[in-house]
Amino acid sequence: MAEFMQFLLSGVTVGAVYALVALGFTIIYNASDVVNFAQGEFVMLGGMITVFSYQAGIPLPLAAILAILVTAAIGVALNKLAIEPARGAPVVSLIIITIGASIFIRGLTQIAFDKQLHRFPAFSGDTPIAIGGATILPQSLWVAAGALMVFIGLWLFFTKTLTGRAVLATANNRIAAQLVGINTRYIMTLSFALSAAIGALAGVLVTPITLTSYDVGISLALKGFAAAMLGGMGNPKGALVGGLLLGVLEAMTAGYISSQYKDAAAFIVILAVLFAMPQGIFGRKVTDRV
């Protein structure tokens, strides 16, 4: 039983990381149908900027806020310099632009900072918390709480605020949104800023667990993307559930079957789910009027 508990806690630790990254995909996807493949780079920037400001002597909470603000600014710059000039382009081209942007950001980071692995201290120390014969590190609870907060925030944003609804309207039909007086340019800029900020927050929270370096973005984005697809792209609830499910699935496979098949098992389940429910578990149904 203690084993099962340990596998579960490991799954929650990893799953919370995936969920937090997956949540970052939500806003940009909802605003423009674009899957932003530079999302992992926002996570990486959040971690790296915090590490280097912390090393420069800035207190950790301040360094974290600085990292989130700078990354949000980079998100805005990405939209202004790369996405907006190509606004007439089909979604696929925009997705490819985000892949290019991610390579560019990675390259700049390794020149601006360095190529080494980094870490900063966990927020509440490294003393494990014992639950039912198993242990979890306090930082994992921070990540889980962070994922939950971002989820609630996003849910309120999309259902209760006018701006959130404007984001959804922009994705649905940009011209119609403009006709009813929505400033779609502003909405796009806002969505990049928010997505980048959520990504950076994820980076700040997960770095004490996963460590960070200029190239951690790709693998985090890939797992986060898989989690988002599993739960349903664009739905904050889907991102949260998809992330946790993926994490627990990996941990259980590693614990009970074999660590060799951990990734394979997770992706087989994702394929099976998407086969039965192509929109993911909580994905919205797409209906086109013909």
Binding site: Q6, L9, Q116, L117, R119, D126, T135, A254, G255, Q260
Partner: protein, 382 residues
């Protein structure tokens, strides 16, 4: 007519310039390393070391009265590019020897080019395949994974461990060392009773460690791996309070590892490392002390960054090459090859190199020091 004259003149001029270039030729050494890309944390210190040492050698009068000229390319860790650059080095740049191949992949791509052109090639990568079977023109400086396994198993045997658990990274380094360790573990009377793996970017290894911990009879754990994996394994190992002796590989032999894993979690970990890592701890009479201290000082003053084992590989490669050119008495590839093969007792940062026709690495187990982490710093235990 006028046109023909001009062409002829230009031709003569070009020819003359060409010859002039030849006449002034320094000893040209080629290098292709991975300054950028996924292996950049290896290739970057290697490139810096080569540039630094060539400048130092030239400032001290060069080799055989001639200046060394370093032609260096960045292959980004891509074997295809490494092959292209190796071809360019031997055909266009006409170098007398090639250093490089930061990774096993790039090294294996350079080997056929160097062997065909009969140009000596000194690799900076770990795999045993590079020099086994022996190829006439190919040499290497880093010790092999198998030697690291042997050093670790030696230590385990001394402590009387017979049953161990392994948790290996599934990346190239971890997988290769895992294979090499399994191949020789039986020779030491040790049995691997639990064998787990993890992905190179995994964030939590507690399920694997829980399984190893619960396997009956495990006396010690070995973690062949590279990058963040071993640091996370170490943290999880402390989190679960596994309580068994933990061995790490030479892949994480750096001060950065202690910072990443945390000094308290890393307490008591043993791993095989090179003399370079513990330069300040070497006894006065240690033959490597002077070499290691000199390299550490010049690298750290020039770059402001701490030395790494990987830069040390490049240091040794250049030292072996310069030593061979001096003994050969001329910058001729075939003569240099002969001389490299006869390298004897050359003290480098990784160990003391003595090559033979059958051994193009020339290191033995004494090249490794068994280190233990105590109070956040290294201690030599063997």
């Amino acid at each position: 007519m006028k046109f023909a004259m001009t062409t002829a003149l230009a031709g003569t001029l070009a020819l003359g310039l060409g010859f002039a270039g030849e006449a002034l030729a320094d000893i040209r050494i080629g290098a292709t390393v991975s300054e950028t890309g996924p292996a950049s944390f290896l290739g970057d210190p290697e490139a810096k070391t080569l540039k630094l040492l060539v400048d130092e050698i030239n400032a001290a009068g060069g080799v055989l009265g001639e200046k060394l000229e370093l032609v260096i390319y960045d292959d980004g860790g891509d074997p295809n590019k490494a092959r292209t650059f190796a071809t360019r080095l031997v055909e266009d740049d006409e170098v007398t020897a090639v250093i490089g191949g930061t990774t096993t992949g790039t090294s294996m791509a350079i080997i056929p080019v160097a062997e065909d052109a009969e140009i000596p090639f000194i690799s900076l990568a770990g795999a045993i395949e590079i020099i086994d079977p022996v190829k006439p023109y190919t040499f290497k400086t880093p010790h092999t994974d198998r030697m690291a396994c042997a050093k670790i198993f030696d230590d385990m045997k001394k402590k009387g461990f017979t049953k161990i658990g392994m948790i290996s990274g599934s990346d190239g380094f971890g997988a290769s060392m895992h294979k090499q360790c399994l191949a020789i573990v039986g020779d030491y009377g040790i049995e691997v009773v639990a064998d787990e793996t993890y992905g190179p970017s995994d964030a939590d290894m507690t399920p694997q460690l829980t399984n190893i911990k619960n396997t009956s009879g495990v006396q010690a754990i070995l973690n062949p791996g590279f990058g963040q994996g071993p640091a996370i394994v170490t943290r999880n190992y402390a989190q679960l309070a596994v309580g068994l002796p933990l061995y790490q590989s030479h892949g994480v032999a750096s001060n950065g590892f202690i910072d990443l894993a945390g000094a308290s979690a890393a307490e008591g970990i043993r791993l095989p490392g090179t003399a370079l890592l513990v330069a300040d701890l070497l006894p006065e009479n240690d033959p490597q002390r002077a070499v290691v201290a000199a390299y550490k000082k010049s690298f750290e003053t020039a770059t402001g960054k701490p030395v790494s084992t990987f830069g040390g590989y490049a240091h040794d490669a250049l030292r072996i090459l310069v030593d061979a050119i001096n003994r050969a008495g001329k910058a001729d590839p075939a003569a240099i090859r002969e001389a490299i093969e006869q390298t004897k007792g050359l003290v480098g940062t990784t160990g003391t190199v003595t090559m033979t026709a059958d051994d193009h690495l020339g290191l033995d187990l004494t090249a490794f020091r068994m280190l233990e982490i105590r109070d956040g710093s290294w201690k030599i235990v063997d």
